[in-house]
């Protein structure tokens, strides 16, 4: 099942299918290791519901829902 990273619930895991967005934001996502094939766990959401904290490539990364909506995920059961 495919889902946007921004729609993930806390505790969901998945594999990145594709990364959209433009220029600066997309490049930044790539540089931080958000590339197709990487496994992602949505670890938590900030107290006000946004930004998100994910684990990717063995470290913790935070990004906003705005940026997470560019990331399409294949959800893992």
């Amino acid at each position: 099942m495919q889902k946007l990273l921004s729609d993930f619930a806390v505790g969901d895991t998945g594999v990145i299918k594709s990364v959209g967005g433009e220029g600066k934001i997309k490049r930044r996502l790539f540089d931080m290791g958000i590339t197709p094939g990487a496994e992602v766990l949505l670890r938590k959401k900030a107290p006000l519901g946004d930004p998100l904290e994910i684990t990717v490539r063995g470290y913790e990364l935070t990004l906003r829902k705005n940026e997470a909506q560019f990331v399409t995920m294949e959800v893992q059961k």
């Binding site: 197709p36 913790e60 990364l61």
Partner: protein, 770 residues
């Protein structure tokens, strides 16, 4: 001397390694044109001395952040003899991503595999020899923290620096291999240095490269037309980033042996985060941390021990606070134990600075110089120096605490917690800290804006920092509010003070909203940030950091502050006929005369022409506040004495103690001389809170903004906002119905900005469609 550059990800232990290598030889400067620290030092334990340059912490060599551009330009243009790439072994995949890019440059290159001890502690293993074999560059395991392996590292760096190295790429076998090879040959044919690196960047259609090699980029475009990839289409930037990560995960999984096979294992940091960024407790804990920082820095009743146990004051105990022993004791205790920040502040200002400068002042007073020269040196220069130096303790204490928060990794969490709130104003969560630091002192707050990546966001933040009323503005608040209550017997001084703080915050929010929609328009910068693992801050790193900041502050602020102080002193001690005036004759000074001249401008603010003959006192006080806000009330005391000496001024000092430290009586003397009302007085506070801050803060803003236009804009912004805020306060205070006019004006402005931006956007979109 051999020149070596140190590159690596943020939080990889780069600073610790740099400090370990260079020790006391390090010095900090700025990279030209940007406020990114440039640190240089010398490593002396090799056969030849090696100069080490610390490049900014980066994740990639992309063209989007100033840090990345600095790092890549340095390696390519300055041609260091060797690059040390520090790699965090606990986070190998993401760290090696940068290594695969540096590898493509024709520069000798050594990898320092840091934090191997942490890897081993977890029970994991990384085979450094195997990694070296795979990468084809020297790999040395080190522990920057313990200083282990540094000699071996530098021996290999020394050896590597003597040899030539040709760039290599991990993209050799990928879909773009042909393109990269062809572009590389073409570039090499044009005599371009580092052809491989440029070829790869051109294939990525990197902004800077496309500009530099306009002809060759056609090759990429032609190739693109014939190319289609199932996943990426013709997005080569994505393809290349993906290929790098694929290469890393395929080749280096064999290098790492993990004890814990769990993919998303919980670490100690995760456990800490469970509490510190908790859904409910995250924000209260943050507020508590913030309170603790300010309490430890500014509280005169540490842990409220004095209040709880009812300690006796020194006076009650019969201690002579005039004697040295008593003075020393008074630095630590008076009816309550002081917090560490206050103790340091007292020791510095009341003992060290006081005695050192007291001796100097005595020496000059005893000399045979002319009266005006003694006055200029003592009251102008030396008092100016004292004013600058008195800022040091709170600045450094605040810095220390905020550095601890930064180094421990908690600062990133604060940004995480608060980002949502700040986005509404077009800022990121990171902007919160500098603003809140402004309540302590604007200077460290402005320097702290360096953590903000976006220039416009930085400028907006620097401009509103003074609105978060700093420690030096508090005396103005308490004195004027106290005088209002005492003279008119109305209201509650605490309530007025609290209200003014609130006014400052509201002004800041409105100003940020205004700027982010007009002069400093820009999209909210993206927020994609690593949350580094928590770790204990390093004492040595903290001290080096603190020392750097001290030098920075003293150097940058000294010149402008001392010069400005002298100018103001001259203006207030000479008449237009250049006759030297005593303090009490300030009414004849150039400053007072000029103030009388500009008095009408301040009429809408409530302390202009309507106050009559002596109305200029408020303007003189506000101008003297430019040196340091503490001066405002001190000037009132001088002016009170001056007015009392003048016949017909109507100032009767009976029952008033104008020398009293709180300044309440001095302000009352001003009220009786000018007949100013409550709205005018409150407007006066508002004016001082939102106008140009002290010279120390102005100097810092100038240094941090870097760009002269932005700096001038900042000065104008402060003047305009203070006139607007103070007029609003005065008119609404005097005639309540004017509130509707102000509200209507704000609404109209908002409407204009929104509709203008809308039209501008539509135009932009139209342009795009065409």
């Amino acid at each position: 001397m051999i020149k070596v550059a140190l590159a690596g990800n943020p939080n990889s232990g780069k600073t610790t390694l740099f400090n370990g290598l260079t020790g006391s030889t390090a010095h900090v400067g700025n990279w030209p044109g940007v406020t990114v620290d440039k640190k240089e030092g010398v490593y002396k334990k090799c056969a030849e001395p090696i100069s080490v340059v610390d490049l900014p912490g980066i994740y990639s060599l992309s063209p989007y952040t100033p840090e990345e551009v600095i790092a890549r330009n340095y390696i390519i243009d300055e041609k260091p003899d060797c690059v040390i790439n520090i790699v965090d072994a606990t986070n190998l995949e993401r760290n090696l991503y940068l290594s695969t890019q540096i590898m493509e440059i024709d520069v000798p290159f050594v990898i320092a595999l840091n934090m191997m001890d942490a890897v081993e502690k977890k029970g994991d293993r990384i085979d450094a020899a195997k990694l070296e074999e795979k990468l084809g560059v020297p790999v040395v395991a080190i522990s920057a923290l313990k200083g282990a392996g540094l000699n071996v590292l530098m021996e290999r760096v020394y050896k590597a620096s003597k040899e030539k190295r040709v760039g290599k790429t991990v993209l050799e076998s990928g879909a773009l291999a042909h393109l990269i090879r062809d572009v590389k040959i073409a570039l090499a044919g044009q005599g371009v240095e580092n052809p491989l690196f440029h070829a790869v960047k051109l294939a990525e259609e990197d902004e800077l490269e496309v500009k530099a090699h306009k002809d060759t980029v056609k090759m990429v475009e032609e190739f693109k037309d014939t190319f289609k990839d199932d996943t990426f289409g013709d997005d080569f930037e994505a393809l290349i980033a993906d290929a790098r990560y694929k290469y890393i995960s395929e080749n280096f999984s064999s290098v790492v042996t993990k004890k814990d096979k769990e993919k998303f294992a919980s670490t100690k940091s995760d456990k800490a985060d469970r509490v510190l960024t908790h859904k409910i407790w995250g924000i209260p804990i943050f507020l508590l941390v913030l309170f603790a920082v300010f309490h430890l820095t500014f509280s005169e009743d540490f842990l409220y021990l004095g209040k709880i146990f009812g300690f006796a004051s020194l006076e009650d105990l019969g201690v002579d606070t005039e004697a040295f022993g008593g003075q020393l004791l008074a630095c630590f205790y008076d009816g309550a134990v002081f917090s560490p920040g206050v103790i340091i502040n007292n020791l510095w200002n009341d003992i060290i600075v006081e005695y050192a400068f007291g001796w100097l002042i005595g020496l000059i007073e005893g000399s045979s110089m002319a009266g005006w020269a003694i006055g200029l040196i003592n009251d102008g220069v030396i008092e100016g120096l004292k004013a600058v130096l008195s800022f040091l303790p709170p600045i450094l204490t605040l810095f220390l605490f905020f550095s601890i928060l930064e180094d421990s990794g908690y600062m990133a969490r604060i940004a995480f917690i608060l980002d949502r709130m700040f986005r509404k104003f077009g800022l990121s969560g990171r902007a919160f800290l500098p603003m809140i630091m402004g309540f302590g002192c604007s200077v460290p707050a402005m320097i702290n804006t360096r953590t903000l990546a976006d220039d416009k966001e930085r400028a907006a933040t620097i401009r509103v920092i003074p609105f978060f009323s700093c420690g030096a503005k508090l005396p103005i608040l308490t004195a004027v509010a106290g005088a209002v209550v005492a003279y008119f017997s109305v209201g509650n001084a605490d309530l007025i003070t609290y209200g003014m703080y609130l006014l400052g915050i509201v002004t800041a929010i409105l100003a940020v909203l205004f700027m982010r929609n007009t002069s400093l328009k820009g999209e909210t910068p993206p927020f994609i940030m690593e949350l580094p693992a928590y770790h204990a801050p390093q004492f040595k790193n903290l001290m080096i950091h603190l020392w750097d900041k001290t030098k920075h502050f003293v150097k940058k602020a000294f010149t402008i502050i001392v010069a400005s102080t002298i100018v103001i002193w001259v203006l207030s001690h000479f008449s237009f006929t250049w006759a030297f005036l005593e303090d009490e004759q300030v009414n004849q000074s150039i400053l007072a005369q000029l103030s009388m001249l500009v008095q009408p401008i301040f009429t809408p603010l409530g302390f202009g022409s309507q106050l009559g003959t002596y109305g200029w006192v408020f303007i003189v006080a506000a101008i003297s506040g430019l040196i340091a806000k503490e001066n405002v009330i001190a000037t009132f005391a001088t002016l009170a004495a001056c007015l009392a000496a003048m016949a017909g001024s109507g100032v009767n000092l009976a029952g008033l103690d104008i020398e009293a430290e709180e300044g309440i009586d001095a302000v009352q003397a001003m009220i009786s001389a000018t007949g100013i009302g409550i709205p005018g007085l409150i407007a006066f506070i508002a004016f001082n809170m939102t106008t140009i801050p002290c010279f120390a803060a102005v100097g810092t803003a100038k240094a941090e903004l870097m760009n002269n236009k932005s700096y001038k804009g900042t000065l104008i912004f402060w003047i305009v906002s203070s006139f607007l805020v103070a007029s609003a306060v005065y008119t609404i205070g005097s005639w309540w119905w004017t509130a509707f006019i102000w509200a209507a004006a704000i609404a109209l402005t908002t409407w204009c900005i929104i509709s203008y931006n809308k039209r501008a956007n539509e135009k932009l979109n139209d342009g795009k469609l065409k």
